[in-house]
Every structure is written in C-alpha cells, then in structure tokens.
C-alpha cells in the first residue's frame, strides 16, 4: 500500500504530469468555455465534438497552405463556426431535435475530414514553445502553465473575455435569460432563438480554436481520431462545474489530469492497466455527473427547444 502512495506522490510530483494535464485540460477548456456559453442559453450541443474535429482539420489545412500558425488557427475558428452554424440553424431556426442534429453533424465532420484528409494529406507542425520569463521558474506548475507552445496562451485571455461577455454585457444577460426562461425573455422582446444561435456560434468559435490548438499547439499532425470523444468530456466539464465559469475550468483541468495519467504513468515506469487508465476520464465523468446533477443548478430551460406559442 505504501508503494502505491509513493507512486502517487511520484506521479503527482513530476513536471511531466502537470505539463500533460495542462495541455490536455487546456484543449478541453477551449471547448468547455464555449459550450458553457451555449448551455447558459439553454442548448446542449453534442456537435462540439464535430466543431473540435472541424477546427483541427481546418487548422491543419490552413497551416498546410500558408505555413502560418496564425492563419491555421483562424482557419480552425472558421471550421468550428461552420459546424456550429449547422447546429444553430437546423435546431434553433428550424426545429429539428438538437441531439439528432448534433450527432449527425459529428458523423458528417468525421466523414468530410477523412475524405479530404486522404486527398490533401496536409502537413502541420507544432508551433514554437514560448517561455514566459519569470513565471516559468515557478516550481512544478511553472513550466506547465507558462512554458507551452504559444497558442496555449490564447486560452488565458479567453477566460476573462468569456466571463465579461456572459456576466457584464447586455448580450450575456440576454443569453442567460433565454436559458432560464425563454417565454419571459420572448415577452420582454428578446429574440430567443437568435440569442441561442449566437451562443452556439460563440461555442463553435472556441471549439474550432481548440481543435486547431490540438494540432498546431500540441500534436503537430492531423488524425481523424485525434479528438476521439473528448468533445463529450468538454460537455461533461460544464456539468461538473455546475454551469459556473470557474467550475467549468476546474472540470476541464480535472479531466485533463485524468487523461494525463494515461500518458504519464507508463513514462515514469509504472505498470498499470492501460485500458483502465484510458477509460478513467469517462468513468470519472459519469461518477461526477451522478454526484452533482441533482443539485439543480442547471439553466432551467436546458435542452428545451423554444417555439413561440407552444407551452
């Protein structure tokens, strides 16, 4: 047993662990931040998975064509938004079921990315590592937070920006109102479905950026299995955080840590069941959802479509 604890100490005392956790968690945080805004507006977008993959692929192609990470990231945002537009218009302009649309959009993106990947065969490269002087010298977490590739740092300003948008602008107030009580919002003159569409597109922007970051900031190559269901974990991170900004980020970080174990444990020379480690983030998500969902902090109209004159 003491062996186990010393192993745990060893794992959680290693810089590798924190580095992986921030990278994996940061990737989730991009998507989770966007999904938080969309869920605040009362929608659940399982197309966030598709947005991530579209962002990853568009980012790769953008880099392939221009050799510029900046343009690659911008292309990633564009890709994510395209998927979000499908989701937004099909389920909140027309009235198709949002889960059906989201799921189909994911399948579509996997197909399209695979199809074009075989034709274009784009090459990408990891962006430069930029160490932020001073901060990077903090022991243990310094290199993890401030010694990453430069696209990682895009996440940091997005956090206060999202907070400001949600809690300090009229738009954010309306988004939250629409998620809590669409009927009342409608009566007060807010175009409910328009706000929802906008919130989804914001989510698509961030997810697209996250996808591009995955390729250009971490992995360096595109693969259709690159996202592999982690968009769904981003949704779970929002649940984990009880629909608060800080909680969502914490959720992304916790799932990042769980995911990082899969990479770190073998590197440090420990033997552990690989399948169990790979399943850990998903199991953890399920356990966490079991523990917290009853607390009822979710937007009151979450996942309920709004159709004027009904209900």
């Amino acid at each position: 047993m003491s062996d186990f604890f010393s192993a745990l100490l060893d794992i959680f005392g290693s810089e590798t662990m924190y580095g992986s956790a921030v990278r994996l968690g940061g990737f989730l945080a991009f998507a989770a931040l966007g999904e938080l805004v969309a869920e605040k507006a009362g929608t659940i977008n399982i197309s966030v998975e598709g947005s991530l993959l579209a962002g990853a692929f568009a980012g790769t192609v953008g880099y392939h064509l221009t050799e510029s990470s900046v343009i690659g990231l911008a292309a990633g945002v564009f890709g994510g938004v395209l998927v979000a537009l499908i989701q937004a218009n099909m389920s909140h302009r027309l009235t198709a079921d949002q889960f059906v649309v989201g799921l189909t959009a994911n399948v579509l993106v996997i197909g399209l990315a695979g199809f074009f990947n075989a034709i274009i065969d784009p090459l990408a490269r990891r962006a430069m590592v930029v160490e932020i002087p001073g901060l990077v010298d903090i022991p243990l977490i310094g290199p993890a937070l401030f010694g990453q590739t430069w696209p990682t740092y895009l996440l940091y300003p997005l956090i206060p920006l999202t907070w400001w948008l949600l809690y300090r602008t009229r738009w954010g107030l309306e988004v939250r109102a629409v998620g809590e009580n669409p009927q009342a919002s409608d009566v007060s003159g807010i175009d409910v479905n328009k706000r929802r569409r906008q919130a989804i597109v914001y989510g698509g922007m961030l997810a697209g950026l996250g996808g591009a970051y995955l390729v250009l900031g971490q992995v360096g190559t595109f693969d259709t299995a690159a996202v592999g269901g982690r968009g769904f974990i981003a949704i779970a991170a929002v649940y984990f955080g009880g629909w608060t900004l800080g909680g969502t980020l914490l959720g992304a970080l916790v799932f990042g840590f769980a995911d990082a174990l899969r990479l770190t444990v073998p590197v440090l020379g420990y033997q552990f069941n690989a399948q169990m480690l790979a399943a850990l983030p998903y199991v953890l998500t399920i356990v966490v959802m079991l523990a917290i969902t009853k607390q009822n902090r979710q937007p009151k109209a979450l996942a309920q479509p709004f159709i004027r004159g009904l209900r």
């Binding site: 027309l94 059906v100 034709i119 949704i235 009904l310």
Partner: protein, 379 residues
C-alpha cells in the same frame, strides 16, 4: 403571441383546415425530393470536385452492393445488425428517450456471445441461443445503467449513454488482451493476436443460400422483429403507454404511467436490441467469427442514423437499413474508381440532415399559419 397562447389550434378559421392538407402534402413531397436530391447532389459535387466521375462512383456502389456475384447476400447480412440497432433506437425514441450508446451496447453483446461461444461447454445450438440471449441481456443491462442514472439521479441519458461507449471500448479492449478473459490462447497463433478464439462451426447462425448468394438466418429474424416491434408499438397497451410517455410526459403522469418504469424498460429494450445485433454479427461471421477490439466497426452509429432516417417508424427502418448497408458494402468497390470510401460516410450524414429539413420546415410553417390565423381572427 398572446392569442396563439390562449387559442387552441382547433379554433383556427375553417378555410385554413379546408385548403391545408392538399397544399401541404404536395409541398411536403416536393420538399422531401428536393432535400434528398440536394444531399445526393452535394455528394456528387464532392466527387466531381476531386476530379472523379460521379457516374462511375455510382456504378461501383451499385456493383458492390447488389450486382456483382454474391454481393446482395453480403449486403443483407450487413443490414441485419443495422436494422436491429435501429429498432432498439425506435423503441427508446418513442418513449421520448434518446439512447446514443448503441456502439457500446453492441460491443457488449458481441463480447458476451464470444464468451458463450468460446468459454462455455455444451451442445452448439444451445450455446448459440445462450450467447444471443446473454448478448441481448448485456446490451440491455449496459443501457440499463443509464436508465438508473437518469431516473435516480437525473443524469441525461443522451450524455450517459454516449460516455458509456468509451467505457465499453476500453472494457472490450481489455477483454481481448487478457488470457483468462477472451484472448485466443491457441499456441499456433502469434502471441500478439488481440482477438478471441473463433466460434465453433456448430455455434454459427445458419446461412441461407439462394441464387448464388448467401445470407445469415439473422436477416429473417431481424425482419420478423421489425414487424413485432411495429405491432407492439401500434397495437398493444404497453406500446401505447410508451408513446404517451414520449409525446407528453405530463399527460402520462396524469393518467398513471410511471415514467420511471416504462422509460427504464424502453432503455433496456433499446440496449438489448443493440446487444443482440452484436451477438448476431459475431454468430454470422463478422471478422471471421472472432471478437476483436474494433469489432463494432461503426455499425452501432450507423444503425442509429438508420432509425433517424426512418423517422422512428419500425417498418421504415427495413429499407433504410438496406440503403445504409448498400452504401457500406458498395463502398468496398470504390477503390477501383480512386475515390476514398469515406465519401459514403459523408453521403449518409448528408442524407440524414436533409431528411430532417422537410418536417421541420413544415412544422415552422404550420405554426406560422396557425398563429396568423388565430391572431387574424381576433383583430
């Protein structure tokens, strides 16, 4: 707005009712045709854009799915698990539940079939039946976990079933590399083989040979099950309860239908169909009767799409499953045209998206007409 709220749709002026059906029916047919053509057109455009001929692609698909020798039997056998998965999805959707974890439930079913077929002793036919039953039960139990989570703790089943897919993937991955579990311990096979042993010949589902084609007996079972599901949903008390629950949970509660029991059962059955699909796939020769980590090969996802495409009508699932299976087996012949077989995935998704549009458009329009009629009456 206010008028529409207080005015039930029945109070709309008579001319709306009188001219409605014919005009909308024609419009609907037109919308459907336009949407399907749009989806196929977009796919053809993709092919043309990459410098290939869509006519040749279409020909290759047709050859691979039906025309080449022995292919249509193959297509039928592929359609079988898709149909089963779709039927399960229909049951859940009718109860207002959205199970999207079929891929995982199917894997669990196939895994249990492999356990029955390779680890248990007994006469072949008995093992086959036990395997199918166990497989269905495993899929159902796997979905049942999500039902418990939903009705005990309020976790949305959409997300929990989805997450369980990834758990199933790892669990089955673990099973086939573990000696005491499912790994093939035959010393003649390379140590690294991450598969189960093959099912014995007497535990295979019988094959039917007609006109130079052969397909699994499971195909016929699946069609019978489709008819059965259609009957149960349309003509039995239990099916009625299910539909009431799906249409309006508040009404269901008022007339004494327990969402917890009816819904849990629907989710269980939904998973059981997926599990049965997995077990039947294995027993009819998928990946040469061996259970492998990637055994499900997206059949679960595609079966789900089939149900969506059939708009949750059990009988309509039959042709839709055949269509998707044809696209899948047909894609095996695409290599000769130089087009990547992923184009088929794109076409499938586009078709589903396209078929979502007409009912949604007509719904929005009817609302608009009803609102206009109701408010116009008042002014």
């Amino acid at each position: 707005m206010t008028a529409a709220d207080t005015q039930p749709p029945a109070a709309a002026p008579p001319q709306f009712v009188a001219e409605g059906p014919w005009r909308t029916r024609g419009e609907m047919a037109l919308l459907y045709v336009a949407s399907i053509l749009g989806a196929l057109g977009l796919s053809a455009l993709l092919v043309a854009m990459t410098g290939h001929s869509w006519q040749r692609v279409f020909g290759a698909l047709l050859d691979g799915a039906f025309l080449a020798p022995g292919r249509w039997g193959n297509t039928l056998t592929v359609a079988m698990p898709m149909l089963l998965v779709a039927l399960g999805t229909v049951v859940a959707v009718r109860a207002g539940l959205f199970n999207i974890g079929q891929e995982g439930q199917l894997l669990m079913g196939a895994m249990l079939m492999a356990v029955a077929g390779t680890k248990m002793e007994g006469p072949g036919v008995l093992l086959l039946v036990v395997g199918l039953v166990l497989g269905a039960f495993a899929g159902g139990a796997f979905a049942g976990i999500s039902a418990v989570m939903r009705y005990r703790r309020g976790v949305p089943e959409v997300i929990s079933t989805l997450l369980m897919v990834f758990v199933a993937l790892q669990l089955t991955g673990f099973a086939v590399i573990t000696a005491w579990f499912l790994r093939d311990n035959d010393p003649n096979r390379p140590q690294r083989a991450q598969t189960s042993a093959a099912l014995d010949a007497d535990t295979h589902l019988p094959e039917i040979h007609i006109l130079g084609n052969s397909f699994s007996l499971g195909v016929i079972l699946a069609v019978i099950l489709a008819l059965l599901v259609a009957f149960v949903l349309a003509r039995t008390v239990w099916g009625f309860r299910l539909r009431v629950l799906g249409h309006n949970p508040i009404v269901a509660q008022k007339i004494g239908i327990a969402a917890k029991h009816t819904g849990s059962r629907a989710l269980f059955i939904s998973g059981a169909f997926a599990g049965l699909a997995g077990a039947m796939m294995l027993a009819s020769g998928s990946s040469s009767y061996r259970f492998t980590p990637g055994f499900s090969t997206n059949i679960g996802w595609q079966g789900l799409l089939v149900a969506l495409l059939a708009r949750s009508r059990p009988i309509a699932c039959i042709p839709m499953a055949l269509l998707f299976a044809a696209l899948r087996t047909g894609s095996g012949f695409l290599a000769s045209t130089g087009v990547d077989r992923k184009i088929v995935d794109v076409t499938q998704a586009l078709l589903v998206l396209a078929l979502l549009i007409p009912p949604a458009v007509s719904f929005v329009r009817e609302r608009r007409r009803a609102v206009a009629a109701a408010t116009g009456d008042r002014v």
